[in-house]
């Protein structure tokens, strides 16, 4: 509830700034914006630019909409993924991000444009090719991508209702990591 109010509070606060044409840099006169943003905003550290577009498109292929289930390609999925990626060992993270860039570039061979701008059928064809490739690195990369998309989607509470999962019985148990809890509860606004 408090986070809900704080998100709405943020909207009101920004509207106030816009109304008086106050630059956000000067906003600290009115409010400690850095502290405020930490509470309600999540800025992706690793998934940015072409990688965020590639992951959003890939997520829609991996988990498309079905019945009450929304497709996975959303900033909320990206937020959880980015937070999980930040916890990875650095070498593994480098490999994962490199793989996403490769997916982006290889789109040219499957639809003439980068992955995110290709048609859905071409995107699916490319992902399927990677999943079954004779090159082990592609199979590993696809497995990693799929796993992180599923993590970013199925650990979020908004998804649980659509899949009829009751979630934790001790719902209000204090979080071990407040950022991931907020991300999973869609209480953080994710931006790249």
């Amino acid at each position: 509830m408090s986070a809900y109010l704080s998100i709405n509070g943020e909207v009101i606060f920004r509207e106030f700034l816009n109304y008086f044409s106050i630059n956000m840099k000067d906003a600290h006169y009115f409010y400690d914006i850095s502290q405020y943003e930490q509470k309600t905003m999540y800025k992706c550290q690793y998934i940015k630019g072409h990688r965020s577009r590639t992951i959003l498109a890939a997520a829609d292929c991996i988990i498309p909409a079905h019945g009450h289930l929304e497709s996975a390609g959303s900033m909320n999925t990206i937020g959880v993924m980015d937070h999980a990626i930040s916890q990875m060992p650095s070498q593994l993270r480098f490999q994962f991000l490199l793989f996403i860039s490769i997916v982006h570039i290889l789109g040219i061979f499957f639809g003439g444009r980068c992955f995110a701008r290709n048609r859905k059928s071409d995107q699916i064809r490319q992902l399927r090719w990677m999943e079954r490739s004779v090159i082990r690195g592609f199979r590993m990369g696809f497995l990693g991508l799929k796993s992180y998309v599923c993590m970013g989607y199925f650990t979020r509470e908004s998804t649980w209702a659509s899949i009829h999962y009751g979630g934790p019985l001790q719902y209000d148990q204090p979080p071990t990591d407040s950022v991931i809890r907020k991300l999973c509860q869609n209480k953080c606004k994710v931006y790249v």
């Binding site: 199979r139 001790q170 990591d177």
Partner: protein, 501 residues
Amino acid sequence: MKKRYDIVIVGSGAGGGTIAQKLIPLAKKGAKIAILEQGPHYPHAFFTQREIEMMCLFRYNGAWPVTSGEITIAAGQCVGGSTLMYTGVSFRLPQDVLDEWHVPDLTYEDLSTRFEQIEKEIHVIIPSESMINDNNRLFHQGCQSLGWPVKKIPLNIKNCEKVGFCNLGCNSGSKQGTLEVQIPKAVSAGIDLIPNCDVYGISEKKVHATIHKAPPGTIDGPWCPGRICINSDIIVLAAGSPCTPGLLIKSGFQERLPGIGQNICLHPAMTLYGVYPKPIVNYRGFPKTYYTDQFTASHDYYIETAFYYPFVATRHLGIWGKDLSEVMSKYNQLMTVLVLHHDNVMPENRITVNRKGIVQVQYKLSRQNIASLCHAQIQSARIFFAAGCEQIIMPCASPHVIQRGSCDPKTLAQIIQTKNFIPIKTPVSSAHPQGGCAMGEGKNAVTNSWGQVHGFSWLYVADASLFPKSAHVNPYLTVMALADRVGEHIIRFGFNQTGSI
């Protein structure tokens, strides 16, 4: 920083916790004993029942792949080790498996006495009818209608609240792992527990480690962060397989004992799903109460009931796209089983350490392993359909989703084939890594039957790395029984030999 102990135990899981408890009489006589645990010490309040928040309980957040990428290993990294997030399955080592091991001086009578005693201590029970949820009931029904034996799984639980979060840490403390039973007893007897202690090497009666800062929300250890050298008359390695053999390799013991890192098994496992026409809510109640050993003798696997949370379930399903969305939208209708294949020791499978000092598991599934796993999928499919499932999802089927119309064994055998097994794509996991410091007397043996490392009277191993071959069954009770033996040997011989008491 330097410290001095009489006995140091590396690891606090099934092996480390048990040996610590066994050594309580020595601690009461004044021996200084410490348990060093690489992972943090989590209080019950830490277990939030949320999948993503609890991934930190596992080494590499639950995604530790073998070098070929074909299998992902799940191993605990915390006080309590893997007993913190296992389901409490407490099988005794079958006698015919012990006979296959050919370990001199290790008799079934000896182990049986220990099994009995440990089962009392950790409260092993046969689950009552009230513990059986719909998934388990359907499994029972399916096996019975096929005429297969179906048996109850012995579990070490006490006053279980049946909330279904066993694999994310039991916050009621019902599961009687070492965090609940052995470690508290050892600590109250004066044995020091040092969490966040990363042992990176051992040398002649010395342990070299780094103490890390305790993560937020965990219980602090007594020592400040930094490097530490601990002198100890006896060192017991119970960091589990593959970490114990990895530590020995890193410390240079492989030159004298070339068998270190060899003779490994992983119990490759597949979790399989069927869609039942009505909700069965497998995520509540106790997840594991029945198994069938119908194909143990002929095809080397057990089929057990199982349950996994949504994200992990998607990893097991091995599908994506429309199929995944369709299946996951019926998550509360999923019937789940686990196939546990007991693999053979293969010379090419081994534990190694890379240039950066990271422990790696070199493992490739053999044709025989894949054939067994495919056979298990066909038989599991029969259970699902016999139980009433409408469709099933089989990773080695083409297509993966099979409708009820194709439920006769011949059709299933045509759809589920080994040629559809694609390494890495086809999901295989392991929660039972074993071997790497095989006990025995042969040229590849690393320890004697009491866990004492050949040629190093001050060094012991007390975990699943002692197994010379697969245990066939879930290994925790066997690890505890062997650790109990190691403890007995230290009390009777090891400690007196060093004359340090």
